[in-house]
Symmetry: C2
Subunit: 206 residues, 2 copies
């Protein structure tokens, strides 16, 4: 099943795991009786546990959103799509310290189930409401491990039978500074050992 | 920049952060004077720090590779491509306890720089040699945080000027049980604030 073997050049390592998601992190907290909400883009994010569902998000301490998560102990992860790709990039390059990212990127904060202050992004197809369980300073970035307590899904991702179709979301991926879309399905978990009948049904292959 | 807002249905959360990478984890250790090497597929993997470059890989303790990482304190992360997609899936569905995955998936273990026992996968375009810095039991999965100490890159990803072209690797992504390829570039980090000149050069847009 393998392909040709490569000729490797060894070098000083970089953060080159790819592709990774580029998600919008919704954060909020209360200070002086006023609720403040911000959002930022994070590519250093991943799944770290299935039961309970837990996710890691790594953020530089100098980022404005960092302090808001520290204070509130909560954040939302919002998946990103082709439709909001430019907004996603924008929320990764300017700071909430001197920009109202919601207004400038035309994104809308909405109440996220299970969160006190952190909003979800109305234009995202799926959000995960996370409570911080652990905070690990690692170097340039500090990792927040969040446990998801609720999830919101755009109803357009569900078909009439209630089955979930992630491919309808047109998600985007991030690889070494470049955003891409996803092609149609090339396979599914377990396809390497699936019967011809299952392959035909799931991959529409004759 | 945003798009239409969604109508959300709230539900019990699942591990639905997407897309995520599906990487091959190379592991090895010595027991009774014999070196044993295995590999497994992990989608619960991500970048957690830039400096130093650190990555998380979450594995169920009942997986065969789990014990090998525990013993050796090292693993490699190997990126995966369309060419080795079937092999990647296969290494995620059978166990090294009763399968020689290397032979069955036609993958080749090679010496990974900086590792004592954990091999890299010769058919992968890029590997990261990682030493375990922290081990966090989270529930169904235990997270290993590895610091990359070396990196190997297929020389075909570098052009004659030494510039790195990740898109040549034809990486694959994993979203809710489905493997996809990546489309051509839709944008790059900072493109939302880039000049027309830069956009034209980098995205070939007129």
């Amino acid at each position: 099943m393998g392909d040709k073997t490569m000729a490797f050049i060894t070098m000083k390592p970089g953060a080159l795991l790819a592709p990774v998601p580029a998600v919008l992190i919704g954060v909020g907290c209360e200070s002086d009786g006023k609720i403040e909400q911000n959002l930022m883009t994070a590519a250093w994010a991943g799944t770290v546990c299935t039961h309970p569902p837990m996710f890691s998000v790594s953020i530089r301490p100098e980022r404005y959103s960092y302090g808001l998560i520290q204070k509130s102990g909560e954040f939302t992860i919002n998946l990103t799509t082709r439709a909001i790709l430019k907004a996603t990039d924008y929320c990764g390059v300017v700071s909430g310290k001197d920009h109202d990212k919601w207004a400038e990127a035309h994104l809308t904060p909405i109440k996220a189930d299970g969160m006190q202050f952190a909003p979800a992004v109305a234009e995202s197809p799926l959000y995960l409401s996370c409570r911080v369980r652990q905070t690990l300073p690692l170097g340039s970035h500090t990792m927040f491990i969040g446990e998801a307590v609720f999830m919101g899904i755009d109803e357009a991702l569900l078909d009439e039978k209630g089955a979930f179709h992630m491919e309808r979301a047109q998600l985007i991926a991030y690889s070494h500074g470049v955003y891409s879309g996803l092609t149609e399905a090339l396979g599914f978990f377990g396809y390497s050992v699936a019967s011809d009948k299952v392959l035909k049904r799931r991959l529409h292959r004759s």
